[in-house]
Symmetry: C2
């Protein structure tokens, strides 16, 4: 007998900011969410139905947590997929499926999947070590990416010329052609267990030059309708070919000659979808829950143009976080603050984000700059 | 030294649905919210930073809870105000102020306040007992309201003619002229400690004929701009004359001859503001937090026309709640479900609400009827 969604014990691997916003959304559907995270003071620790400290990469920890659940999902992909497979074999629902998490954990497998499935992506070479990279000097300038373990800008470096070869990774990695792109774009797409697929509108990302993570985002992306349609089709192709259930963020480059190339994918809610909380009819967090619960997917229309700004720890501060400029920030109309509940700030640590909605896209961009000037996270 | 808002221990008296939506909003600002409620399985029990079971009317329980807090607020007005006054005297911030909660707890004091402050309201007589009411048969048809203890339709009855006099309350009550109104309207107004005052747009309420509680709500109200402005001015007058800090819901009648009369007020977030979560730039829950934290008040503009429908327990069912029609409901675009996490349904119990947003107000009203047909709470 199918039980009510409100009766399920839902387990989430990871208790960071993505989990936190998922919790806020899950409350609307009266879902019972349990969480596990290695950090005892993780953003979700105090507000999940239950919280256990545990290593997400540890087989036993994930098994012990998962066997008490009916449905298991993730908010970070660095998790023990063997345990998830074992749980799935025991009859637990696990979305996204462990095999897909595993594929995405390894950027080499990810790229190989694109190639095998004719998903357009930057040319690449798989490399085993530094010496291997050195043999491909003709391929430079290129991006050298760790196969496994990279996160939030770590494990990714540009090798511009021969003199950078010495920096190359000593472990299995890939060497990817450096793309001369006009824009970085992202589509978030959801697919439910019943096979319903729905995309969010295309957004445009601006990366932080030093920290290699998203600094601003604009929605809608300033591209033609044809490019948006093509990007959405590409995202739908990827999730369908993966046969994945859940939410998938598909980051793309738009090249100087208007080609779309898939850069990276993440099988979960994503930084490029935070604005959907205020700016779209359904948020990415609700959509993720709808997809894994096999509910009908929600409408994804953008209600108002929006910008999202990550609130990063200031470069020179490490310690107990202090928020300068909160009052001034909150006096700006249409500015929505989300703080992630992290006690400690570090240089470029994601401490929160701000979503700005405004009918006028020029005002919107002005407000982005203003907001960045006002709010500072120091210690 | 003024501490960061994220350092405060905020205590909320009551852990029901209003507290639950306040928690969802408080997470955005990284606020630490502690709650007390008599029901150990209250909607907030599992998701507040801490939760204690306790009688909100009990002096010692409120004192024990409150003395651990920096700032105390409410999500229900039936609380021990003597304890709140004592906590205030100890230097705790208490918003809304205990004196105002006390005034509003007693509908007789409320009405006397309107009269003293020239706030337009229906004519009334204070009555001490049934015999007292019987002396005012010329005043019928009238509404007989308990001075204290009424809630969600309880403690309010219509005395249409002499033959109803036998039903009259035996305790201190009031007899209020039955108003022949065109519409019931509500304005939610906020006032911060610094004295900033801001109204939400006027909304229109449709009451359930049997249960005497809000069944639907439409925003914006279909009235002239002049009436809206007058209603907002009235709400601002009330909160300013009360010298209150926090959020105040001001329910009004619009009479057949277009007079506005204040009916009842509630010094907290209110059922008539639930739609603001999706439909307005700032939600009533965030606005309440801004007001009591003395942050600048948020913009209140309506983004899209909206309707709110209370999800009430079906009349014939008491027991563990089951939600019929969830899948079908969620397939409707622009329909936002909020379930309150109550395990047990009872006839007309508020189990959740649904907000519908739609540019087209005709479609909006059609969807209200559709939604009511689809979702049923049974046991």
């Amino acid at each position: 007998m199918k039980r009510d969604i409100t009766d399920l014990r839902i387990g989430v691997l990871g208790g960071g900011q993505l989990g936190r916003m998922m919790l806020q959304s899950a409350t609307d559907f009266n879902l019972e969410i349990h969480m596990i995270d290695p950090d005892p003071s993780a953003p979700c620790a105090k507000i999940a139905h239950s919280f256990v400290q545990g290593d997400l990469q540890d087989y036993d920890a994930v098994m012990a947590f998962g066997k008490q659940m009916d449905l298991i999902t993730i908010e970070i992909e660095a998790v023990n997929t063997d345990a998830l497979k074992a749980l799935q074999a025991q009859g637990k629902k696990v979305f996204p499926q462990p095999e897909i998490i595993e594929l995405i954990q390894d950027k080499r497998k990810q790229k190989t999947f694109y190639k095998a499935n004719r998903i357009p992506t930057a040319d690449f070479i798989l490399t085993e070590n530094k010496a291997d990279v050195a043999q491909h000097r003709d391929f430079l300038p290129a991006v050298n990416k760790l196969g496994k373990g990279g996160y939030d800008g770590r494990g990714v470096q540009v090798l511009r010329s021969e003199k950078d070869l010495d920096k190359a990774f000593e472990v299995p990695s890939l060497l990817e052609k450096l793309i001369d792109f006009k824009k970085e774009l992202s589509v978030i797409v959801a697919r439910s267990a019943s096979g319903e697929v729905k995309c969010f509108p295309l957004v445009e990302l601006v990366f932080h030059p030093q920290a290699n993570l998203v600094e601003f985002l604009f929605a809608p992306a300033e591209v033609s309708a044809a490019i948006e349609a093509e990007a959405q089709q590409l995202a739908e192709d990827v999730i369908t070919k993966l046969d994945m259930v859940g939410l998938l963020a598909v980051e793309m480059f738009l090249t100087q000659d208007d080609q779309l190339l898939v850069n990276e994918i993440a099988p979960r809610t994503h930084n490029s979808g935070h604005h959907t909380i205020e700016a779209n009819i359904t948020s990415q967090f609700e959509q993720h829950l709808r997809a894994i619960l096999d509910l009908p997917l929600g409408a994804t229309d953008l209600i108002k143009p929006a910008a999202m700004v990550n609130v990063l720890g200031e470069n020179d501060y490490t310690g107990a976080a202090r928020y300068e400029g909160l009052h001034e920030l909150m006096a700006l109309p249409g500015v929505h603050l989300h703080l992630y509940g992290k006690k400690i700030t570090k240089p470029f640590r994601k401490m929160g984000h701000i979503t700005i909605t405004d009918e006028n896209t020029i005002t919107l961009k002005e407000k982005v700059l203003q907001v960045k000037e006002i709010l500072k996270v120091k210690a």
